[in-house]
């Protein structure tokens, strides 16, 4: 347990030591700010049934920030260890492969979650300055953040997998970007393709991140999400673990 903690501490410190973290945070804040501004502007224009939270979490800026952040966060994780050769010192210390995979995953997840913290302030400031609540109910604020955690787990794990595949960070980022965006656009099949077969609809409903967010930001919690994403995350991490071990043993 202490080893895992040591590894996690190291992985987290890399995030906050590197300038990349601050660049990511900077652009992330800009996109979030735009998204928030967009929400207010929209609600100012005409009366709407939507709350600020709802519009914020369903804007294009939100989705761009959300989708682009995973490759940037995760590309380094394994690829850099292979590139620098530090994998050799790391794995000849008494640590388990699984501990390394878990610590890298957790560090990336924690960093990802910390990126969302400033957005909580927006809603606080809104209610303070606007003298009205940004949400209809407490659940309406809790639910989208819960969904961000659940979907984030899945996408971070996907990024871990991509990073474990290669020694080149750019290649890792590309693989992860294609996978993340590819899965995201699966949702849109139903909107684009006219033939809406019930089977296709059922399948895409599991990965329909747009639809999930639509209902969660209304405060409607869909339990399928809590089974599907964590189990997929687990599966992806197991595959990452296998690839990680395989590449090390083959070098």
């Amino acid at each position: 347990m202490r080893r895992l903690f040591t590894l996690l501490q190291r992985e987290l410190s890399v995030f906050y030591y590197s300038p990349i973290a601050y660049i990511v945070l900077f652009f992330f804040l800009i996109l979030n700010g735009l998204s928030f501004w967009f929400a207010i502007a929209l609600l100012n224009r005409a009366p709407s049934e939507n709350t600020v939270v709802q519009v914020f979490f369903n804007s294009a800026f939100f989705w761009i920030a959300y989708l682009l952040v995973f490759p940037v966060i995760t590309m380094r994780l394994f690829a850099e260890e292979f590139k620098l050769g530090t994998i050799e010192t790391l794995m000849t210390a008494p640590v388990r492969d699984s501990e390394v995979v878990i610590s890298k995953f957790l560090a990336a997840l924690i960093f990802y979650l910390s990126l969302w913290l400033p957005s909580l302030l927006y809603f606080l400031i809104f209610s303070w300055l606007g003298n009205r609540s940004a949400i209809g109910s407490a659940g309406q604020l809790l639910a989208p953040y819960l969904l961000l955690l659940i979907m984030g787990m899945f996408n971070v794990a996907l990024g871990c997998l991509a990073s474990a595949l290669t020694s080149n960070q750019i290649v890792a980022a590309m693989i992860s970007l294609v996978l993340t965006i590819g899965i995201f656009f699966l949702t849109l099949i139903n909107y684009v393709v006219n033939v809406s077969s019930p089977l296709l609809r059922d399948i895409t409903a599991y990965v329909a991140q747009l639809d999930h967010m639509d209902s969660f930001s209304r405060g409607v919690i869909d339990s399928r999400v809590f089974i599907f994403y964590p189990s997929m995350t687990f599966l992806l991490l197991v595959i990452t673990y296998q690839i990680f071990q395989y590449r090390r043993w083959r070098t």
């Binding site: 040591t6 890399v14 794995m91 000849t92 210390a93 388990r96 090390r248």
Partner: protein, 310 residues
């Protein structure tokens, strides 16, 4: 401390090492020699549990490096050939991190980090970023990392590569002093280093062990004929004719330089004719400036065992 039994490693068809078996006892300093690509690093990587062998097994302090890998790794300090380090960490921070990964904590961790910083003389750079360190310091930080948990066994893959002569001497002294408390397996291409530091040498070539003995015995076994060097002023005598009359001399080559005859005398193996030559010189009233027997070195042994024409 190390027990290797019929270890074989194949990389996609290429056999890196085949049926390697050797043992290293507690307290030994063993030099692991061989030409590039002979399988030294492969063997060391298997011993350090970095990768598994295709067949055979290896034990470290009684623990199988594959099945009981974590316990085996606890007993081991390993310095890889390329000395990979995290450039974004400071030296002290890195050593604390590594120590804590290897199971140290609290006061013990602080103590050990300080001890290895002293030992490897990296104290003066303890607050520098590793990325800014010179090759020599990086090497010593790597060594400090290998030592931080006070392991019984050290495996060092070319610990002096890329260092300047002064640094090589320092590292050599360090290794020698470590040998009093630790078992060491080290690979290197600097054979003079092995001759002074190692109690035993294992030479591998093309994945097989060619020799395993003390440096002295290896040199002694080498069957090349010896050479005696003689520099004399002979006052008109022809040294070649006279020396060739001594029993055991196989041939003499002489060159003249500033009135001094410089002779290179080939003699039969394992004989020492210096006394006879000296007596001859006294008899003929020659002035002797040099009389030495050239000895075979470990380098000769290495070349003889691993030389290939291809």
């Amino acid at each position: 401390m190390i027990k290797v039994e019929q270890l074989t490693k194949k990389y996609s068809g290429v056999t890196a090492i085949s049926n390697l078996s050797f043992e290293v006892g507690k307290g030994e300093i063993v030099g692991f020699l061989g030409p590039n690509g002979a399988g030294k690093s492969t063997t060391m990587r298997i011993l350090s549990s970095f990768m598994p062998a295709t067949s055979g097994r290896a034990l470290i302090a009684g623990h199988d490096v594959f099945r009981d890998s974590l316990k085996a790794r606890m007993h081991l300090g390993y310095l890889p050939e390329s000395v990979p380090l995290y450039g974004d960490m400071r030296v002290s921070e890195y050593l604390r991190y590594r120590g804590s990964l290897k199971g140290l904590g609290g006061k013990k961790l602080r103590n050990r980090v300080n001890v290895v910083k002293e030992l490897c003389s990296v104290k003066e750079v303890e607050n520098k970023l590793i990325a800014t360190l010179s090759k020599g310091y990086r090497q010593r930080v790597g060594l400090a990392d290998a030592l931080v948990h006070d392991p019984d066994l050290l495996i060092l893959d070319e610990p002096t590569i890329g260092l300047d002569p002064n640094q090589i001497r320092q590292v050599r002294e360090l290794i020698k002093s470590l040998g009093e408390r630790h078992t060491i397996l080290l690979s290197t291409h600097i054979l003079s280093e092995v001759e002074v530091t190692c109690s035993r040498v294992i030479i591998i070539h093309r994945g097989k062990i060619e020799a395993s003995d003390t440096p002295g015995n290896l040199v002694g076994q080498l069957r090349t004929s010896g050479t005696v060097r003689l520099e004399v002023k002979t006052d008109g005598d022809d040294p070649i004719q006279l020396i060739e009359k001594i029993a055991g001399v196989k041939g003499v080559i002489a060159t003249v330089e500033d009135g001094w005859q410089r002779c290179s005398i080939r003699i039969e193996a394992k004989s020492d004719l210096r006394e006879d030559i000296f007596r001859l010189a006294v008899e003929r009233r020659w002035t002797v400036r040099e009389l030495t027997q050239e000895r075979a070195t470990l380098e000769d042994v290495f070349v003889e065992l691993t030389h290939t024409d291809d």
